[in-house]
């Protein structure tokens, strides 16, 4: 069946689709038209902005990798669990989505802070405190971004169906071979969507990072924190927050466009 004869979309779906694009894109255009271009370049290329951007990229990528390492096995487990257990897991996993990130940051502080057993254990083991370090940024980002990865990967694992996996198993392929060569490639579109959501959420993360990691330039001040600081700090103001936002956006779009995996079409 040739792909150039795919069933087309009903015409009247186009209006709501465009409205949807409008809702997402028009506010940005409004933002861009109101940006103060005179100071934009200066704001966006200040050493502090660039250092925040670089930190954001590094931690965003690290958090995404961590989420893939933890989240893909979790999604596989959920997709293969009995309905009830899967349902429970899904409910647990949706929780950090609902939690206002700042409260998530408080929760992370409670968990890893110096007054907590885990924090003291880590301290006694490696002599480090997690909070207020770059590692804390990665943990905070992973905490808020992981659910996105897990839920979208699980969805597409369920859609992929078990027929191919069974066929592979009857050929003698072990679980690992089935997982890596059949299951995951078949779930690739959901994996890609999940990674995009995860990365985007991670580098946009602000509330949990602010509390758990703090706002120290070069160590924990990511772009969103720099934006927030510019925004809330008296005087410096909104213009430079907008400038930094545009810089962050442009970077994120470029990263996502560059990443080859970004094309779920690759599998079709």
């Amino acid at each position: 069946m040739a792909s150039d004869t795919g069933v087309r979309v009903p015409g009247f779906a186009i209006a709501p689709a465009l409205l949807g694009v409008g809702l997402l894109v028009l506010p940005l255009l409004a933002l861009i038209t109101r940006a103060s271009w005179s100071t934009l370049v200066d704001d966006a290329t200040s050493p502090q902005a660039l250092s925040a951007l670089w930190l954001s990229l590094r931690t965003g990528v690290a958090a995404t990798v961590l989420c893939v390492l933890l989240g893909v096995p979790l999604a596989v487990l959920m997709a293969r669990s009995p309905a009830r257990i899967a349902q429970l897991l899904r409910a647990l996993i949706a929780v950090p989505l609902v939690l206002p990130p700042m409260v998530g940051g408080v929760a992370l502080l409670f968990l890893f802070g110096r007054t907590s057993p885990i924090g003291q254990f880590i301290d006694s083991l490696w002599g480090i405190t997690l909070p207020f370090s770059t590692a804390a940024v990665v943990i905070a980002q992973s905490f808020v971004a992981l659910p996105f990865l897990v839920l979208s990967v699980e969805g597409s694992l369920r859609a992929a169906g078990a027929g191919y996996e069974q066929a592979a198993a009857t050929l003698g392929a072990g679980r690992w071979m089935v997982l890596t060569r059949i299951t995951l490639p078949l779930a690739a579109p959901g994996l890609v969507a999940g990674v995009i959501l995860c990365f985007a959420r991670a580098i946009g993360e602000f509330g949990a990072t602010a509390l758990f990691a703090g706002n120290a330039p070069g160590i924990t001040q990511t772009m969103p924190l720099a934006i927030y600081t510019a925004f809330n700090g008296a005087g410096t103001g909104r213009d430079s927050a907008v400038a930094l936002s545009l810089l962050l956006l442009a970077t994120a779009v470029v990263v996502l466009l560059l990443a080859r995996a970004w094309r779920p079409g690759a599998l079709k």
Partner: protein
Amino acid sequence: MTLEVALRVPRTGFDVDVEFQVPAGSTLAMMGPSGSGKSTIVHAIAGIQKIAAGRIELSGTVLADAKQHRPPHLREVGLLGQDPHLFPHQDALKNIAFGARAGGLDKAAAKAAAAEWIARLGLEEIATHRPEALSGGQRQRIALARALAAAPKILLIDEPFASLDVEAAMDMRALVREELERTGTSAIVVSHSAADALALADDLLVLERGRIIAQGAVQQVFAEPANRFVRAVAATLPAQHPMSIQEEQP
């Protein structure tokens, strides 16, 4: 490798409830009307269908009974299902190589084996087509090669020639026969074609609504048809077929 099967699987309206053996190195043909339970039985032997009662044993190793269920990849049983389930993200060559690799070859050997299979099938032209760009008969042949490449101890093939033209079906029958003999593999062949049973099998087992209604050496079963169905199947054997002459000269 003698396969001993006794199983019960509940289905809508009836239970599949059978008991039979496949002696080492021999091939059993399985026939029966659509929906009589043939696929259910091979799925149970391959391990993708649980059984409610009974026991499936391969040379003394219990593959399944009412309590245990050995996973498919630990059974040394290979299945080519009625739906071949070619992997949609791999081309023809890679599909066969997957079988070879799952059967224990290393990467390079599997690749070489796959290329050899493609050549034997005469399908070099479409070796790099993905399943969606293969014809029905090509799909079926690639899936057969994939199952053979996995070199199981017992081979289960469920209607393996259904989408093939007369010549291709004859070629494939010959190929399967050759491979089974060369490797001494036992097999079960599910088929609607009396010609398949005659060409490939030692014994024949006929099912109806989950029960065995005839069992024995192939020719013998056809020679003494146990019921209308067996008679109709035997009648498709040329030179014995009154209806086809009617149809030919209406």
